[in-house]
Symmetry: C3
Subunit: 346 residues, 3 copies
């Protein structure tokens, strides 16, 4: 059955290799509506053409997380079909806004390979780039995954890339034309601006959102992400959980939507510093979230907040559930996501 | 945690106050497709650009109920986040058709306040207006909700507005350009026109439709309605029902879609006279509906039927389940909705 | 309650009768996004405007199966509301591509009637034609259904039409302008072309996809298909299964999406030779699929593969589950679908 794609195993990758991912995707107003229906965002900049035009853009761009999921989905068949685990993200930058009608494609470059001591798996590091129909890069990020070896005797050249712990604020790219000088705080839902947020400040987003099987499966199909763990219930029934795993991106988008309550003006993600899905989430549980301001930077036309977004399942966040001093997370914490967002200044 | 919106309590409202609601929303073909997928409408006027153009419009407008839900959703964080109950609607009028690409925003004026004798809650009456990107009003309606007091000692100036029991037919606004003279009854699915419906006539719509958790949650997120009872399963588990409540608008839209079978030419709602969600609905039950013609009015270019739409759960409507002489509803009746719809004349 | 549509019974049809189906439908980018979210297709031609333009088309056309479902849905209230069973399809041809913004309508001609010996039911054969807003036929197919008689004493003129076992390759219509000479195999996801597929070859598509109640119901409402068995849980509770039946088209589209893994370049269906839903499918089971190449034809600008698509529930397809020599299917085979698809040549 050679016509069926078996995916790549650890030894199929080599340093410097470029993979052109299949299925380019024209994103449309249909995707935007589904993103709203599936995750519940309310950030005005992505919801209203009129609001976005008032911010100097030609219309409402896609939520950067929607762009991320579409680009990420393309990479799955080539990078992580035989993955044991997604280990992390780093150095993510949104390089140009994406509008309905744009066509996204993706390529990945292998930048690191490190076999595990068990000789059965290895870690693959790739830098994935999403481009639009004009060939412009719209997104770039690094991710690393643990991938099975098929031929246990195979040897590969190994290296572990040096990754920045966070994107430098000076490397963040503000969408061309963005101008918050006439920002409408009433329509945006909050008066708080760059100056109002303090490094170290924590915000409980209060609201909770349950995610159903149909919802995460629809989202993950929309992103054309083909990882079997999200869809193949017959195979998942053999797992101790007996359940399909929910794509981590669904949790990121759900938690980000919940963060509106307290971060109404920080919808526009400019960079992704790190992200870990620290415990699995299964459909039916209610997602809660809290945020912490890690850093601030003045980008001229706007401010940037470096935010940590922590999500839980079936646990409210008034006490800010967090990892302990040894870095271990409670079982009901499911996400620790570190990103930069643009915010208006006073 | 002052950056998190606590919502308004009874004493936070004052007569004459205007609230500008957050998150303007550009409605698109994506919303229209989701509305079809979630509720199942088949009225030709909203389904086909060609049909709508044959009726004198530039293209298919949005179903007025979709417009209603989007506008209503915006008002929730400001008006009903701390609501105990939605008590009613009145004086609803659709003032201009909405097309894909239009951006909706909403404001509400407080027109009545009445503290309850228990001193713990009060009724807030607001007139909510939805506008498009040109500032034109597209929808206006009154609703009243019972809201908790936070400071039980607070005193507010009180008044109860006089509301019309029904919108006067002469106040209904027919979409500019509407012309039913070349109405295609074969494509619309029914030969019946204004003259064929008699005041008092009742119609069993026969068909039944179950609504799943994922479906009502997706609809309610699409409308950016944030009421916690629809989403927060963790908190709802403490309720005697143990279930998320389904947004009443989901029932209105489902029942209206079912009413196609018998009211195929009465899709275009012009006014909302009253509406009550008389019993809760939980996902999984099958919705049925029947209608009664309450009144008729000749609007010149078209007729108008005043219709009462009654919906039930897990009960067929061949015997027209209804309130008793004391006004009490059977436990399986969930909606009593009173509206005006345009219909072609002979 | 004469205003409620009772549907047609066997004796209501007559040979040569033309039925104009209700509710024309403008299909949009919203429908395309929902089709992706609900069924998971990844064929580049329908996913990317840029890819389609590179294949000589003005933009990405709708997946022919989406067109089929929308046209089929229109015919349900007139043809199969009182159907006992859908018996088969034949002579299906896609005659022109459909693009977002096009408006679909449908008519059916009665081409055969055959009363069953029990005198209580009969088989109705119709040729259904889908047209666009310019009146051009975009799809034509024959289906036959077993329909109840209402008046058991009624007599109708009977005839059984002669139907082709498969569409002749010479009758297939390739979309005007289609040009695979610059086909991008990396973006399409597979190097395999017409010459690489051999008659008799079988392909296990490996992947599995569960379908939830909310997903099939949303799809079927999107297609405005009103068959009660898909929606009315209250009535279905009386059936031995106790479950809503999933619309067979959902299975066709799910299986076709799964077939991407092995048939990445055969997305464009040109003809439907036959189709049978050989066992019922209820939500929750995981769909798997395999394909067999039945025939090949060189159409000049492209090749055509005649493919048999077999779907199962909760059974992997590595051993190609199939009917036995007597034509009986295992209980876990749910679909046997025979179609022509365009593929690039070398």
């Amino acid at each position: 059955m050679t016509k069926t794609d078996p995916g790549n195993f650890f030894e199929d990758f080599h340093l410097g290799q470029t993979l052109v991912h299949a299925t380019p995707r024209t994103v449309t107003a249909g995707d935007v509506a589904l993103y709203t229906a599936l995750h519940g965002p309310r950030f005005a900049l992505f919801s209203s053409d009129a609001f976005a035009q008032n911010c100097g853009l030609p219309g409402a761009p896609l939520d950067p997380l929607l762009v991320f999921h579409v680009v990420f989905g393309k990479s799955v068949p080539d990078i992580s079909l035989n993955a044991v685990a997604n280990l992390g993200y780093a150095e993510g930058r949104f390089l140009a806004p994406v509008y309905p009608g744009d066509t996204l494609a993706a390529t990945s470059e292998v930048i690191g390979l490190k076999e595990n001591s068990n000789g059965k798996t290895g870690v693959v590091y790739v830098r994935t780039t999403g481009t639009n129909q004009r060939g412009e890069a719209v997104l770039s990020y690094v991710r690393w995954v643990m991938v099975r070896k098929n031929d246990l005797s195979a040897q590969v050249e190994q290296t572990v890339p040096e990754l920045k712990p966070a994107v430098d604020a000076s490397d963040l790219v503000v969408p061309r034309g963005l101008d918050f000088s006439a920002y409408d705080h009433a329509l945006a839902g909050s008066p708080y601006v760059f100056e109002d947020y303090a490094v170290g400040e924590r915000i409980d987003h209060v609201d909770g959102m349950a995610v159903e099987e149909a919802e995460h499966a629809m989202a993950t199909r929309l992103y054309q992400n083909t990882a079997k763990v999200h869809f193949n219930q017959f195979e998942r029934a053999k797992d101790p959980s007996g359940r399909r795993l929910v794509y981590g991106g669904v949790i990121i988008s759900t938690a980000k939507a919940l963060s509106f309550n307290g971060l109404q003006n920080a919808g526009l993600i400019l960079g992704v510093n790190a992200g870990r899905h620290v415990n699995p989430y299964f459909a039916g549980a209610t997602v809660f979230a809290w945020s912490q301001v890690l850093d601030k930077a003045d980008l001229g036309v706007c401010g940037a907040l470096r935010l940590r977004l922590v999500a839980t399942k079936d646990r409210i966040c008034e006490d800010f559930p967090d990892k302990d001093d040894a870095g271990a997370y409670p079982a009901d914490v499911i996400l620790d996501f570190d990103y930069w967002a643009a915010v208006p200044k006073r």
